[in-house]
Symmetry: C2
Subunit: 227 residues, 2 copies
């Protein structure tokens, strides 16, 4: 099947979790908003489907929003999830916990509201960042280090965990340097995923948008650990 | 099938979305943590499954976390979702947008961190509440008013939207009184759901925990609209 992904063209953001799955699977897809005229097509699709926010995926007649829904649907088609209900649900559950983590990472730099500039919620961001580094980050890392894997084969959840480690290292290099060595399973998973040939080719291509200060993962030194 | 729900016994919280589905369907279930010794059983299950947080559902051999995953799994079994992939995914997508909404409602009173008292993040909560009432609340209401329904029959998403309206009226009575009249479709849905016999019997029973100041929806007058 030919897929169309609709997501902001200048950030990794939530869309990147879908891009990683499509790329790792070698799927036939178009990243629509990065094509000429694509932003207008994305806005039109959002309006037509009364969509809340990108990413959106078009797969045949189905137009689907919400990152975890998209991955749940794509999983079996991309051989990144089994087809039977129970392990599929366990992957979905794990992806939803990743989605919660992503929201918390975002809200570290926007604790009051997405419509305000970072600079206008800097004091609140510093307070939230300290709690994130000291309580939430270790809680999520511990959880995924200990949680049993739902499948033996590589899944879209594994790709998303790779992305979490990459993003957290970009956003919180000092905090991650101090903490990540305790999570050997996650580090091994990250390195194993990074070596997958199609994924590595993607990461080295211009299709991989670099991390930047507009996405979910942003590097503000004042929100990172001191040393 | 006999289900076991594991959730905090003294709040509606996220578990209530699952309770509503089980109750509306007349399912055979136990709300484990509300039984004698149930809290210990919940803690043991969380530990054994390296769970992140309640709610958890045990359905046969499957133990599942994350509200939207649980509802996605239960939907067809409870006749609150079709069995075919496309409409099931559209319901899942809608439920995930409700989950985002729930997180935002929670973070209005805890914008800095769940581990801090409300009183210790009151100034930040007031700032976030104003943006929630003026921007986010109308955005979510508009979205669900306009979004096409994925199924003709009543779904678990309909039950969850009923719960959102109930909770928002409890937490933000003045803001909702001003805003809700614009969303006639949502009001009609709410009233239709409230009349469903099994659901109404549940709502009038002691099994329905009243809203309170420990759950997701909390009424702090200083976070509501002025008039």
């Amino acid at each position: 099947m030919k897929y169309e992904l609709f997501y902001w063209p200048e950030i990794q953001g939530r869309g990147e979790f879908v891009r990683l799955a499509l790329e790792d699977a070698g799927a036939d897809y178009v990243d629509v908003a990065r094509e000429p005229g694509g932003m207008q097509r994305m806005q039109a699709l959002l309006a037509a489907h009364k969509g809340f926010a990108p990413p959106l995926l078009r797969a045949g007649r189905l137009v689907l929003a919400q990152t975890a829904s998209i991955l749940h649907h794509l999983g079996p088609q991309l051989q990144l999830a089994p087809t039977s209900e129970a392990p599929r649900m366990l992957l979905n559950q794990a992806q939803l916990t990743i989605a919660d983590w992503v929201t918390e990472v975002h809200d570290v730099h926007h604790p009051i509201g997405s419509s305000l500039f970072y600079e206008d919620q800097l004091a609140e961001a510093k307070r939230r960042a300290a709690l994130f580094r000291d309580e939430r980050l270790p809680k999520f890392l511990r959880h995924f280090e200990a949680a049993p894997r739902a499948t033996r084969r590589t899944s879209y959840v594994d790709l998303s965990l790779f992305q979490m480690m990459e993003g957290l290292r970009y956003a919180f290099p000092k905090a991650m340097k101090k903490q990540e060595t305790r999570y050997r399973g996650l580090l091994a998973l990250h390195d194993r995923i990074a070596r997958r040939p199609r994924l590595r080719a993607y990461l080295e291509s211009p299709r991989r948008i670099p991390f930047n200060q507009q996405g979910i993962f942003r590097h503000y030194p004042e929100l990172d650990a001191r040393q």
